[in-house]
């Protein structure tokens, strides 16, 4: 029997190498380069894809991308809080809701222009986050998770019960389209560019944040609070501020959400959404900005796919979350490059091993 040389070069290896090269061009590389360099070539690739995507997507898919963009803003904000600073929040849907209701109330009752309501939503959500964050961010781990969960539920109860302000269970209708300087975003296509434009702005903000001293402070708080305070980082203050920023992102997302679907009712801001956002961040990877955005797109698409089987969606999310935590505790996006390269080279090695054994 002829034993083949394991290290023999085969044409297939060229394909692997080419494939790896292509992958490395496209995939986000969440590690240091993004924290040191502001913009990389692949960012232009993403930007181009975003701009051209509506050309090939059908209308329902464009609408899906609009929703995905809104959830991506939420996930981006939570990524700063959960992925970078390492604090858990299961009440983020509440800030999303606060943003949506602020816009709804300001535009329908007081006739405030949508742009004004947009910024006001962020401010109101941030103000609530500050008031709530001050006391509860002293908690850690499970306790913080429970406190934020409680906040989310309290928000829902208040919204349902204060009918004069929020319209109770049925909510508020007839929220106008987002419009700026006479230009109204009244089609899905226009909304697509609006929302992803806002997202790009927020990504740039977040990127700047994480490559600055504040980004390092966030990571330091996540790694070791003792070490962080030993270099003069005010841990409590950093936590509150990142919570406020994260809530402001959620408020902006909520405002956009309200103007896109033109209603605001409590069903949209339940615990299910909070868990979904947390899942986006975990799936996208801790300490990673692009991952949560990709995860937001994927999960929004998945939710849509499950549309007909709504009753199974929670168990399916549960299973996905468990699988994620077992196999990708750092998130799928973290070191995705290295993981895929390992996987592909593993296939190559396995094939070769099998051949040798025969």
């Amino acid at each position: 029997m002829v034993v083949e040389n394991k290290n023999e070069f085969r044409k297939r290896d060229l394909v692997y190498t080419g494939g790896l090269w292509l992958i490395s061009l496209i995939l986000p590389d969440p590690h240091l380069p993004y924290r040191r360099e502001f913009i990389k070539k692949r960012d232009f690739f993403y930007l181009g894809t975003l701009l051209l995507l509506p050309l090939i997507l059908s209308d329902p898919l464009v609408y899906l991308m609009v929703l995905a963009g809104i959830y991506a803003i939420l996930a981006l904000g939570l990524s700063l809080f959960l992925g970078y600073a390492g604090q858990i929040s299961l009440g983020h849907a509440a800030f999303f809701g606060i943003g949506a209701y602020t816009t709804a109330i300001l535009t329908t009752r007081y006739g405030v222009p949508t742009v004004g309501a947009f910024w006001a939503s962020a401010l109101v959500a941030a103000a609530f986050a500050y008031l709530i964050g001050k006391p509860i961010l002293k908690l850690k781990g499970y306790f913080l998770a429970l406190a934020t969960l409680g906040f989310g539920e309290i928000f829902l109860v208040i919204v349902r019960e204060s009918r004069s302000l929020t319209g109770g269970v049925s909510g508020i209708f007839g929220i106008p389209w987002f419009s700026v300087a006479g230009f109204t975003f009244d089609t899905y296509l226009k909304q697509y560019y609006l929302i992803w434009g806002v997202l790009i702005g927020l990504v740039l903000f977040a990127k700047n944040l994480v490559r600055s001293k504040m980004g390092r402070a966030l990571l330091a708080v996540a790694a070791s609070e003792d070490a962080a305070s030993s270099v003069g980082i005010n841990v409590a203050q950093v936590k509150v501020r990142v919570f406020v920023i994260s809530a402001a992102f959620a408020g902006l997302a909520g405002s956009l959400f309200a103007s896109v679907i033109s209603t605001a009712n409590p069903e949209g801001f339940s615990l299910g959404l909070s868990v979904l956002i947390v899942m986006m961040v975990i799936m996208g990877g801790m300490g990673n900005l692009y991952g949560p955005i990709f995860a937001a797109i994927f999960l929004t698409w998945l939710t849509d796919m499950l549309g007909g089987y709504q009753e199974y969606s929670l168990p399916i999310y549960g299973v996905i979350l468990i699988l994620l935590l077992i196999f990708f505790p750092d998130g799928v996006g973290t070191r995705l490059n290295a993981r895929l390269i390992y996987l592909i080279s593993y296939w190559g090695r396995k094939r070769r091993r099998e051949r040798v054994d025969l």
Binding site: L32, S212, K213, R216, L219, S229, V231, I233
Partner: protein
């Protein structure tokens, strides 16, 4: 010589267990003070009290004539007290150079909003900080690995990195909690050399250590704790031959210097 750190009659008890009993200690400016003692003597407790991690039951601590007894850890760090940890607290989710940059947190300008908008002074600060961080890494001999993630370094290198993070604060007083624990003899030698160079640069150092040889070589003064009591204080040679120390430390086996 003036004392930079003054500890006055400090006591600490945990649920009735007395960890420290009316300890008074002075660290003079520009010197290396060694703090030794058997396990459980209260050395780390004293460190926690100085750095504000815990509050003393009674007594006062003052730094530069300012009472720091009831300040928070980060406020004490702001005054210029840098420290390393007995159990490594390297920030493993960041690169080596970012660990050093984290140490410069208080010396850089900018908050969340100005950082997010990347205003001109942030850019300038980051640029200068990177340069300075590389100088610190060069001093520690870690410059070749500045892009590595901190957890990828060896144990000895992580200890160095932790020292570097404290140095990046440009501290007036540096507290080292067992810097030589777990290092090879060659590494200990290099570390001792670096600590002496830091003193020559004008940094006052308080060092807790089990490694007798190193302490006796580099310390200007040594204090010995035993069961929460200060049993001896003075120049290394005097302390080494103090009968109380020999009895407490090694039950008569002698201090191996």
């Amino acid at each position: 010589m003036t004392s930079l750190l003054a500890i006055d009659k400090i006591s600490k008890s945990y649920d009735g267990v007395r960890a420290l009993n009316r300890i008074s200690l002075r660290v003079r400016k520009g010197t290396i003070k060694g703090l030794i003692g058997p396990n459980g003597a209260g050395k780390t407790t004293l460190f926690h009290l100085i750095t504000g991690v815990e509050r003393p039951s009674s007594g006062t601590i003052s730094f530069h004539g300012k009472d720091i007894t009831s300040l928070e850890p980060h406020e004490i760090a702001l005054l210029g007290v840098g420290r390393t940890f007995q159990t490594l607290q390297v920030l493993g989710n960041m690169t080596v150079v970012e660990n050093i940059l984290t140490g410069m947190h208080t010396r850089l300008k900018g908050g969340f909003l100005s950082s997010g908008l990347w205003l001109p002074w942030i850019h300038k600060g980051e640029k200068g900080a990177l340069q300075e961080a590389k100088e610190v890494l060069e001093f520690l001999g870690l410059l070749g690995r500045w892009k590595w993630l901190a957890f990828q370094l060896s144990f000895g290198q992580q200890k160095m990195l932790e020292l570097g993070r404290a140095l990046a604060m440009k501290p007036k007083l540096l507290l080292l909690d067992e810097p030589a624990a777990g290092l090879t003899p060659a590494e200990v030698k290099r570390l001792a050399e670096k600590i002496c160079r830091l003193r020559d640069q004008g940094i006052t150092i308080l060092i807790v250590e089990h490694h007798m040889g190193m302490i006796m070589d580099i310390a200007d003064e040594v204090a010995v704790l035993h069961n929460g009591e200060l049993i001896a204080e003075g120049p290394p040679d005097a302390v080494k031959n103090d009968p109380h120390v020999i009895e407490a430390y090694l039950q008569g086996r002698g201090v191996d210097a």
